[in-house]
């Protein structure tokens, strides 16, 4: 199995950061778009693009409340997203373990 076995939706630096960050919160919690942006360090446009890909895969969900300047977008990891990250982590560990120590330099 190569890197191709890793979920391609998650296996990208920005999306990996997004999913791991959201997974830090307990199930049932949400994070605002602006706080997530602060933590990830992406521009709003890039963050929206990556969130859309994750949302299309069913890994994150969003909801918008308010309107205009007071609008707040809440983002959270779905149960499918949590399961996908768990699978990704297991696969990644397997791949890392399969690499011999001298190859890891």
């Amino acid at each position: 199995m190569t890197d191709g076995a890793l979920d391609p939706v998650i296996h990208a630096p920005a999306r990996l950061r997004i999913v791991v960050t959201l997974a830090t919160l307990p199930a049932g919690d949400t994070l605002t778009f602006t706080r997530l942006q602060d933590l990830i360090g992406l521009t709003p446009g890039n963050l929206i693009t990556h969130l859309r890909k994750l949302e299309d895969a069913g890994y994150v969900a969003t909801s918008k409340s308010g309107a205009g300047v007071s609008a707040v977008t809440a983002i959270w990891l779905t149960p499918d997203g949590r399961t996908a990250l768990d699978s990704y982590t297991v696969t990644l560990r397997g791949l890392l373990d399969s690499v011999s120590p001298d190859q890891r330099t």
Binding site: A12, R17, T24, L25, G28
Partner: protein, 210 residues
Amino acid sequence: MDEDQGTGQELDTQSASAIMQEASARAVRALVVRRPVLFAVWGVAWLAADGAIWLSVRGQRPYSGPTPAALMELIAIVAAAAIVTVILVGRAASGIGGLSALHRRILLMSYLAGFAGVLILEAALDHAGASPGVIGVYGAAAPTLLAGVVIAASSALRQEWSVLGLGLWLLAVGAGAGFAGPAAVWGVTALAGGTSLLLIAGIGLRLRRS
């Protein structure tokens, strides 16, 4: 970071692992309330506040109650601990909604309503002609009892068993400390309450490091 980042084509497994560790550590630092620090703050505050009252009433025969200076000290210490709590929790919880935010609001309302009730009942006891000794026992024991009940209930809901132990311990201290008498009860609650919070803080910090 540019738009192309995230295609996944250049990401090797070791880099992915490093990104996960870095992102997780950063998220925990930023989003998780440092509860051991909160326990330590309140442990020190409890020791200092009830300790100040105890120092002002020890040796009183008959018991006449704490000095205004000691009461002011207690109020200042509790206010300072509350401000530190608001800053620490507010910083970590900023932008977080959902169940945790709801739990925090319920916990805050429980404490505020509970302490308001404790103060109102103390005024009622005074109004009914209770002696300074009874007021002294009540003033030290009732807040301890309340803190024990709230901590035990909230930790049981989160299935945090060591903190549940703390809540039950405070409940026991609040229930039994009054037998020490109106002056000594302040020393008992200061030591038993403050040190138990510091102990839980120490356990939490050690677990976090391991």
